[in-house]
Amino acid sequence: MPMLLSGADWATALVFVPLLAALACFLVPRAAGWLGLLAALLILLATLGLVQGLLADGPLRVAVGGWGAPLGIDLWADGLSAALLLMTSLVGLGVSVYAPGYFAAHPEQRRWFWPLWLLLWTALNGLYLSADLFNLYVMLEVLGLSAAALTALSGSATALNAAMRYLLVSLLGSAAYLLGVALLYHGYGTVDIALLGERIEAGAVATTALLVMSTGLLLKTALLPFHFWLPPAHGSAPAPVSALLSALVIKASFYLLLRLWLDLFSGLGGLLSALLPELLGLLGAAAVLWGSVQALRQRRLKLLIAYSTVAQIGYLFLAFPLAGAQVNALAWRAVLYLALAHGLAKAAMFLSAGSLLQFAGHDRIADLDRAVQRLPLTLTAFVLGGISIMGLPPSGGFVGKWLLLESAFTQGRWGLAIVVLLGGVLAAGYVFKVVGYAFTPTEIAQEGEAVPLTMQWSALLLAFGAILLGFSAPWLWPLLEVGAPFMQPVAEIGMAALKEIGAIPAAVVTGSGMLEAEILAGSEVGTGRETWIGAAP
């Protein structure tokens, strides 16, 4: 059957469906709920279409306006972008189903939530699809502004303060990023990532650009010591917004950092590109430990989950020292698994916290009062999300941590391995602290408000997603290889490790060798991309 729509059409839809839906929601607030839900379904459909196209035809490059880089702007989609787009559309759909129930009591908040959230979605999709450094800056601006406005939605003094601080941090980060873009354009005469990757040379210009852009993006990603703005912002926003901020917004700036590192800076060599991954790994390890300990000390549920995000961001940076030398690209796949699993699990946890908040009217952990019996679905969602955060099998978080450990062991980096394990133990501590109080009755029995089933089920399904991610390797793995975003095909050790934990049925690997064949096909597509770029002016 010939495809009715091409990959380019799906990519276009991913940016323009949320954009037009945002305009429509702003124009006709009364229909916003239905429009938003319809948009969410269409975006999921477009993402699946794009993934299908990528698996069939390899990576996608679209020249907007037909001009082509370096004159025009190009869109680019490979396995890395597709995986994050997929996670975004799943979490986005979950939150879109959840939001009407949550905002039912606050019509004024609901009215502004939809246009802001759909513009945020436009920015996320646009960012994952862009191949142009300046276009990425514009996307970062849309992202930061809509995220800050969403944080302030409840209008309380705490939320306004947190949103203002978030806005300033976000603008500072964008400005630093833009400075780097200006330097690169002046130095190499293009802002297309692929062309820059060909032209960039080690030297003062590249080093300075690397430093300012990384600093700006680290500010936005909230890696320790830049995490100070995150807990108040994520803790005081309305629950659906907290879920979006923790699950999606943080990942966008991390993705951009990863993309820059992989495509522009990692090949430069020199002292700095040897030292920077070590520094990032050190900060990541500190974030894992410090964030987890802080989470254990919190008395409010949403702040606990927010500090858990600080810790989980740390995990993402543990891969830099492990993979920075390009010895072992396994660490990048580990990190991608962790990012996807964290997105699904953390969204489920924040949505559950929102349901508990609606139910009890507060989110004090000590006063949860038999929530297990009264909101079993919500507590199940919270625990399943927690299992993935802890890294227990068979969740997506487990696969990510296992690959990270495997990578650390083979390189003899015992320190990093201990941090990975210790972070898991601490995570178990704060998840079980919540569960324990949810089983305990308080002295004065508390009344609860009814919580709509849409809110409970959307959280639960997202949590199931985080668990199912652990079984997804057979089809997620080939997708990740489209366009070879990690430069080199899967190392032997990667296949062995996956077989060991049962993420890939042993028959697939050893028996038919089908998976290897697919992966090889992926890497050939990668070479095709390079020749394509070489042919460009």
Binding site: A8, D9, T12, F16, L19, L20, L23, F26, L27, V28, V62, A63, V64, G65, G66, W67, P70, L71, G72, I73, W112, P115, L116, L119, T122, G126, F134, N135, V138, M139, E141, V142, L145, S146, A148, A149, A152, L153, G155, L160, L179, L183, Y185, H186, G187, Y188, G189, T190, G203, A204, V205, T208
Partner: protein, 309 residues
Amino acid sequence: MAWLSLLPLAIDLVLALTLLWLAWRALTSPDLFRAVVLFIALGLVLGLVWVRLDAVDIALAEIALGAGVTGALLLAALAKLQPAESQTDEVAMMAPIALRLPIALLLIALLTGLGLVVWQLWVPAPGLSNLVDARLDEAGVAYPVTAVLLNFRGYDTLLELAVLLLALIGVWSLSTAPHLGDEEPEPALAALSRLLAPLMILVAAYLVWVGAYAPGGAFQAGSVLGAAGVLLRLSGWRLSLSATGWPLRLVLVLGVAVFAFIGLAVIGFGQPLLGYPQGWAKPAILTIELAATLSIGAILAALFIGGRP
């Protein structure tokens, strides 16, 4: 007459020093009103610097948006802050010296590094201006800046328009509009605005039209239009209640909506996304610019008023 050749250098030096001085004064001024006025002056001088660098478009945008609109927004914000302002203890606001010293050192190191890099880039890599010139005749407009903004990199501009709208949605989500200009306006202001507003609308229309072959375009025209709206509002003119609902919202989204609609509609004619068909570039760009000017003007005026109607 050898000294004449030194004149441009002297002008540049004076401009650069004035810029630094104004920036320093604006940052250190304890009086916020004074700081805002200094900031506006800084924007004007910065506009002159852009003129000296042969970037007339950026100069126009800097003066209209950087100095004019931003200055007006800052003054409006200041007016709202005034009642809540308390006597702040200056000593308490100062960070401890142990914190200020490392920050100062860090900033000096950063500035030195940047200076070094800019020095290395004294002769920048050939940019894209040759490529832009080579394909200008396909772009539908004769002026390169407009060609880049509305055609070569139209995707960016579409999203920048969305950023403006987003800023307004953010402001509207937070508060309702204050009752501004309810009191009887001063007669001089009312007379002046009756004279100026039509003139400003005319200037805006001219700026859109001239953008096809000379400095100008939707952003500059929109800011003039926005200023006209602010002036009218200050002199007591208000939108009728029936117009502040969906008609106003329609004007606000018009720019993004028309741009997106045209960008998608061309796909139906076998063109790529945002790729205007042969011969249709000029009318398409003009339509988009007109819609964008209306929206930008309305958004800027609404931002100044602050809060949803």
